[in-house]
């Protein structure tokens, strides 16, 4: 492939003709299978600098602030984390953790102590140099006892963060964690300049990122200008970017088709085919790691019986739901919450699909003839939850399970329904690593363990795998854990939802990060105008 890329590069620079390039590509062995790729490489352009890009985001509220402890949705995540700031590490398009503000990082033998060496010559937008103090204060800000930061629980395992010289930061954890470098890439954890006398100064909106903040009007817009001293070579490409909060999907679509914006988040799936026909627009669809689930409380009857759970897993027609509810813009789940793009992911066997005989078999095994349960859904859980619930109920009834679908109010769904009712619809953003996903939602006693699931072997493996630095051993541990969740867990992973966005035709980009939507929220930094 590298040879192909070499010729593609020469072709793009105009050093060889298209014909010659195609010939070379064929000679290397780019067959029909890769010809799409060849065409893609040949048509992809060299990134160009310049332009004013406007992004219509689906989120944003008047309560938004620059405070990194909040940042609840994609507006603040893209405008502040993605365009204005940098973390110690970031996730690249291959799903690997790479250093950003950190040049390198090393664990001790047990992965209990991590030493991060900072990149030299990085400056904040006000000209101040990045030092270890800024990093230490940033993390202490989230970890403080009175902190209300959304990242506080994420950093619960960090005992102390210190520095012994301006370029080194030392994290001491209360247990080994081989994935710690992935953890610090979280969008709540960009590095802000430290204040004199402790704390960080976020209110001015000064970061180290690709763009400097011009103005921010909460719930309306954020405008940023290129940072000429950015530490990443040649980035960013845009001169200026503006993020607009356009929560109405029709307004976003219109703004894109009239050329008032160059990007719209979250297309309306029902009218996607109409939008596709517009020659000035292209659709960007990425298979994400976010997923929609039905969570059953495994601590109470009848869900405390593993056979009942299995019967329920066989009683759902996932393909039908993908087709009818998500119109094909999702991937059917197999009750493994780890998406295939995450490191160590496996696809456990047997693959769950609708099977009335197996439902009856497992019900009988549980000593039941029929089963009646309640399922709580709301559009707040995920769009299409009600429809998915109804389809589930229809199919399950044929196999002897009566599911009463209760539509709950959107307001207060997460307070009054989730983790309170026996079986509920849930949305998960997904996590970068297996450990992160499992620790936050499947470990015994985890605050978000919405299935109340306790599996001794799973919990034992979770701790062991966390501090295991040998890759092969970790892979086999995580494989076993995914198998256990698949077989025994109380979560029905319905689908992994695709991120469906649209851009104007002249917007271009390289390989996108799949971990989060919108090129890992960093499209402002990475994309360009053709």
């Amino acid at each position: 492939m590298s040879e192909l890329e070499y010729w593609a590069g020469r072709f793009r620079k105009g050093q060889i003709s298209r014909r010659e390039f195609m010939g070379r590509a064929a000679a290397i062995g780019a067959t029909a299978m890769t010809s799409n790729l060849v065409a893609k490489i040949a048509s992809a352009s060299e990134p160009k600098k310049g332009g004013f890009a406007r992004f219509a985001m689906a989120a944003g509220a008047t309560t938004d602030t620059i405070d990194p402890g909040t940042w609840p949705d994609t507006f603040t995540q893209c405008a502040f984390y993605g365009a204005m700031c940098n973390n110690l590490t970031e996730i690249d398009a291959k799903g690997q953790v790479v250093g950003d503000l950190a040049e390198s990082y090393e664990p001790d033998k047990e992965a209990k102590k991590w030493v991060f060496k900072l990149r030299k010559g990085v400056t904040f937008h006000d000209g101040k140099d990045l030092t270890a103090t800024d990093v230490v204060e940033t993390f202490r800000y989230h970890m403080a006892p009175n902190s209300k930061s959304a990242a506080k629980s994420l950093l619960a395992s960090v005992k102390n963060v210190t520095s012994d010289n301006p370029n080194t930061v030392i994290f001491e954890l209360d247990g080994g964690n081989a994935d710690f470098p992935a953890l610090v890439s979280d969008y709540h954890l960009p590095i802000f300049p430290a204040k004199d006398g402790g704390g960080i100064d976020w209110a001015k909106g000064i970061g180290s990122g690709a763009f400097t903040l011009e103005n921010f009007n909460p719930g309306v817009s954020a405008k940023l200008k290129r940072n000429p001293n950015y530490h990443k070579n040649n980035l960013p490409y845009f001169d200026e970017v503006e993020f607009l909060s356009v929560t109405d999907v029709a307004a976003r679509t219109n703004a894109l088709t009239t050329g008032e914006v160059h990007f719209m988040a979250g297309c309306d799936l029902k009218t996607l085919n109409l939008l596709k026909r517009n020659p000035k627009v292209k659709i960007e669809e990425v298979e994400g790691i976010g997923h929609y689930t039905f969570a059953m409380n495994t601590a109470i009857a009848p869900f405390d019986n593993a056979d009942v759970r299995r019967a329920l897993k066989y009683a759902i027609d996932r393909e039908e739901i993908v087709k009818k509810v998500f119109l094909g813009h999702a991937k059917a789940g197999n009750d493994n919450p780890i998406a295939s793009s995450v490191k160590y992911a496996i696809d456990p066997e047997p693959k769950y699909s609708y099977d009335a005989d197996k439902v009856k078999f497992y019900l009988k095994k549980a000593g039941l003839e029929t089963l009646s349960i309640d399922l709580s859904v709301a559009e707040a859980a995920f769009p299409g939850a009600t429809d998915a619930g109804v389809l589930y109920s229809e199919k399950a009834a044929k196999a002897g399970i009566n599911i009463k679908v209760n539509r709950e109010p959107n307001d207060g769904y997460w307070d009054n329904v989730w983790m309170k009712k026996p079986m509920v619809a849930v949305y998960w953003n997904g996590r970068v690593t297996c450990d992160w996903m499992f620790t936050s939602t499947y470990a015994e006693g985890a605050a978000w363990n919405d299935t109340n699931w306790k599996n001794a072997r799973f919990n034992e493996l979770l701790v062991a795998a966390r501090s295991e630095l040998d890759d092969t051993k970790r892979a086999s541990m995580y494989a076993e854990m995914q198998q256990i969740v698949h077989d025994d867990g109380g979560t029905i992973v319905l689908v992994f939802n695709n991120y469906v966005n649209a851009t104007s035709k002249n917007m271009a980009h390289g390989d996108v990060v799949k971990i989060w939507d919108m090129d890992g929220f960093r499209m402002a930094e990475r994309w360009w105008f053709d």
């Binding site: 309560t63 607009l244 008032e260």
Partner: protein, 326 residues
């Protein structure tokens, strides 16, 4: 004149009483919203202690009655309090006074409302007078059915139709009314064109038809007949004889519609993504930013009361019968 002043003060006093009643309704309605800001912003991972500390910080732990009096007391001094979002994630963030959040938004809404009113009110009056003048003519029927057709559609539908033709198909006007604080007058005019047009279409029929009906009713009264027998022209008949007596109902309808232009624009603002007070209120309700919601609701109520008061006074002033009560 003294009598008018007396009436004005009387009505203002009543208006204040109404506002107090409305404020109680607003406050209790907001109490009934499920979920609260503290747990909404802290997320599920927050411990009960953190939630409690946060509630204490933003004063949500006090009894409702006490909070109500504190709020009303503040409002009486012109202090609407602070947005909950100023609490930040570590407390002591930067303070965001509710008035600082509302004033620019209110300004935008007022600009849009006045743009729409400047077009809609004269148009409605003129069309109403003409329709009464040429009653039952083709013109009368056309204007009537045309304006009725527009008012019969929901306003978001009108908004989308206008958007489809004027911005998507023919690209005359922008579909996003994304004005900012430093936008100039020209920018406002271009960006507000579509939302203002929508508002004109939805308010026109009401005012126009009331003008027409009021005039038509008067046309059959003996004094108008007398004037006609005198040989006055039709135009003179309507403008000098009938119209002065029709002001009261017309003013009433205009006042209602003006109030609607300020408080009823939520949908139009959302469709065109116009940063006005309606959009602010929707966003504040969604994120449970109670001080902002309360202030918006109170401003809406005050707008209605003030405009109705104005209509009442116009009605009284233009009607000598009411002015000199026996």
């Amino acid at each position: 004149m003294n009598l008018i002043l007396k009436i004005v003060f009387q009505r203002l006093g009543l208006g204040v009483l109404t506002l107090i009643a409305v404020s109680a309704v607003i406050f209790s309605a907001i109490q009934m919203l499920p979920g609260d800001f503290a747990s909404a912003i802290l997320g599920q991972s927050a411990t009960p202690e953190t939630v409690k500390a946060f509630q204490h910080q933003i004063g949500l732990d006090k009894p409702a009655v006490q909070r109500y009096w504190e709020w009303i007391g503040g409002v009486a001094h012109g202090d609407f309090g602070y947005s909950f979002s100023s609490a930040g994630s570590l407390g002591g963030g930067h303070d965001r006074a509710v008035s600082d959040i509302i004033v620019p938004r209110l300004k935008n809404t007022l600009i849009l409302a006045s743009l729409a009113a400047v077009v809609a009110v004269p148009c409605a009056l003129l069309l109403g007078i003409l329709a009464a003048l040429y009653r039952n003519s083709f013109f009368d029927r056309f204007v009537n059915s045309f304006s009725l057709a527009w008012i019969s559609f929901p306003e978001f539908f009108i908004a989308y139709i206008l958007m489809l033709y004027l911005s998507v198909k023919f690209q005359f006007l922008p579909s996003l009314a994304s004005v900012s604080n430093d936008s100039g007058i020209g920018d406002y005019l271009v960006k507000c064109a579509l939302p203002a047009m929508t508002l004109v279409l939805v308010t026109l029929a009401h005012m126009m038809r009331m003008t027409r009906t009021a005039l038509v009713n008067l046309m059959s009264t003996p004094y108008v007949e007398m004037a006609r027998l005198k040989g006055a022209s039709r135009f003179r008949l309507i403008c000098l004889h009938a119209l002065p007596n029709a002001w009261a109902p017309i003013a009433n309808v205009i006042a209602l519609n003006l109030a609607y232009l300020v408080v009823g624009v939520v949908i139009v603002e959302n469709v065109f993504v116009y940063p006005g007070i309606g959009q602010l209120m929707v966003s504040a309700v969604a994120s449970r930013d109670i001080p902002v919601v309360q202030a918006c609701a109170l401003i809406f109520a005050a707008t209605y009361i003030l405009l109705n008061l104005t209509a009442d006074i116009i009605g009284i002033v233009t009607n000598p019968k009411l002015l000199h009560r026996r």
